[in-house]
Symmetry: C2
Subunit: 461 residues, 2 copies
Amino acid sequence: MTDPRSVLIVGAGLSGCLLAVYLARRGHRVRVYERRGDPRVAGYVGGRSINLALSARGLWGLAGVGLDRVVMEREAIAMPGRMLHDRSGRTGFQPYSSRPGDAINAVSRGGLNLTLLREAAAEKGVEFFFNHWCTDVVLEEPAAWFNSPDQRDIRVDADIILGADGAFSPVRGRLQKVDRFDFSQSYLRHGYKELVIPALPGGGFAMERNALHIWPRGGTMMIALPNRDGTFTCTLFWPFEGEHSFSALPPGPGVRPFFDREYPDASALMPTLDEDYERNQVGSLVTVRCWPWQHNGTVAVLGDAAHAIVPFYGQGMNCAFEDVRVLADLLDEHKGDFGAALPAFQDARKANADAIADMALENFVEMRDLSGRSEFQYGKRIEQLLHRAVGDGVTPRYNLVSFSTVPYSSAQRRGREMERVIEAVSRRVPAPAAYDEAWEQAVLEAAGPLLTSITPLEGGA
Amino acid sequence: MTDPRSVLIVGAGLSGCLLAVYLARRGHRVRVYERRGDPRVAGYVGGRSINLALSARGLWGLAGVGLDRVVMEREAIAMPGRMLHDRSGRTGFQPYSSRPGDAINAVSRGGLNLTLLREAAAEKGVEFFFNHWCTDVVLEEPAAWFNSPDQRDIRVDADIILGADGAFSPVRGRLQKVDRFDFSQSYLRHGYKELVIPALPGGGFAMERNALHIWPRGGTMMIALPNRDGTFTCTLFWPFEGEHSFSALPPGPGVRPFFDREYPDASALMPTLDEDYERNQVGSLVTVRCWPWQHNGTVAVLGDAAHAIVPFYGQGMNCAFEDVRVLADLLDEHKGDFGAALPAFQDARKANADAIADMALENFVEMRDLSGRSEFQYGKRIEQLLHRAVGDGVTPRYNLVSFSTVPYSSAQRRGREMERVIEAVSRRVPAPAAYDEAWEQAVLEAAGPLLTSITPLEGGA
């Protein structure tokens, strides 16, 4: 089999479009089939959240085809830290990093998808087919069946079929029927609902623009990310059942008083709260794991289709874009041989996908619960002092995940090691009245001998 | 809704047939649809292993409709312990219990299935439909679609649909598409292949009849269960890949020398080894977990469809029969109201199904690896002495699982507690040259204070 070959991509979402750009530039004929309508015609109809946090791995994925700068310029709002909101409306800012310039970036899912789709469509050899629902994959050909807009069943043959078709991937659904395919889908008992804080009458932001806002409330939280038009998209993460849950607060007259009590400063900025709360659906939050990700070197899944994760580390899209570039790099390394590159791809990515899935689940606890607690905040303070004083050898987990492309599994191991050090230091050096040089000295002295337990990372950072 | 109602059972395997008997006796109209042919006509074509170990829970399930005695008389061969075979052909017997009469029972899957099918078919109001493949379930009706023997798609409406349709259950497949359905299927890297040891020319058994035979070889093993006709069904449990694996030993001239070396005493009793090894497929071993098991009080799964487990505790069928009787008892308790009984059923069984799934995975390690080691055998010795001397308060885990109907989750907890006690005792009292009264005294003295840590079980045993 010779390169260039025809590749069929299922899914014209974020990773499907980026993948199309990479493969077109490698000289492949690329056809992309998408079950939704063409967003260039009908406007974007998103399946999931309205905005996302783009960070180092996503930018690295975009940079491989020179798209990082245009996306940052057109779409992004830097969020260098968390703004915490307590029940009395008081706020406090926690920077994500002690390194200047480190920030995650709020981007609009719809805007970014449109940018990537237009870039892909402008490449030679790329064709898009919208309103085509993938109903089956014939693995041994390979070929895929689609239900077309006029309700016909059509079969599309290709040399390679790649499923970038999301958490409920039909391509993965077919792989699941192969003997010895490991698969799990696991739901949180929390769901999410989006709300909106509009722009100020003059067009400005009603809260700090450059922050990811969090209202941590123990077992639940609300967050808000800024949009370029001056609005914020708020997201509630509440249990479906029980106290402080979606079923405990049906739409109606109880909503406003509840928000006034739980999120008073936000409630004051939400004129359409009642309508939004009633109209917007409660979404569910799933973690999907599976293995293998490819079959015979000709059919594979990537992104959410291979490893859907919960959104609490802001890494779903970032991990998917990293997937795309890793796959493209492996195709280069294997001179276009998908039969070698697809097995190498799954081997390279599986442990990392599992690691970020775990960390995303853990980070929900951190965001909704720990981030509002003084012990947690003191630990963060120690972590950042050590990072500033000692340097890259003790880069914290959050920074490795969000501001580097160190493998997720290495970041996870580092996180466990640093957690033990910070816990020991905070036992020996209690939180001071003032964070002065004497405190810094005491922390560094206490930490010194413990830091020898930290495993250096391959590739630095 | 009033009782009696029409119940559609998908699957005429072991649990589907037993369930049909229970429901018919409760006055329901019962239709059972099965994708395979009628074994009364065509002979039994099994999906899985040829014989099985029937123990207390399975017998309890059968006893609820008076079928335990007939099955024991027609089908069973008692296996009161394990016969271990080493590489030199030496054997050693380990009784499962210090209580006389405790035994698991080898039964033929095909024979038992036929017995249950005939019992069900003899009940008033029960109808069987073979060669019908379930293709979909309409949850909200409920109704099920089947592909009939003449290739038509037929729809069957019922008040209640119960999926007793096995590890790859179509009914569960439909539930899996409901939002927030947790599901996992996880395969062992080991597969299984069946072989045969024929009866002696005169008709007798070529090895000890009343034992479950094991050839533990570290990471792998072979086992053998007796059949009523004097044969033994042997099962290899080997990895698919790697050393001592199915792919390392393809059918051909290497097979006999390998068996002569690894299983010399068995090899001498296997005249058709080469043909059996070549003809019989390698099966895979899956653990399936899911939640919820029911929808709206009208559609539910049970047995393997709800919780497929690996065979190493011999509990797949036993757990399924226990399911059936628990469900029937809950229907009695709720006066035939499935809307109350099905949620109560899943709540009662889920933790127990998870516990036996875990224990079955652990027991593979015990059987293939630990059972041949002297430390393990010494631990078993201590465990059985304590059981004999102290009584039901320290019934070992194996006994609780196999010789009682104490909830699996309680047996699992007891196992963990006893493991700690036995480990401590074996550290303090080393294995003696002779197992005399002095040794027994020393063990009981060492164990005495530790036994206060054992949690009593609800309901005795």
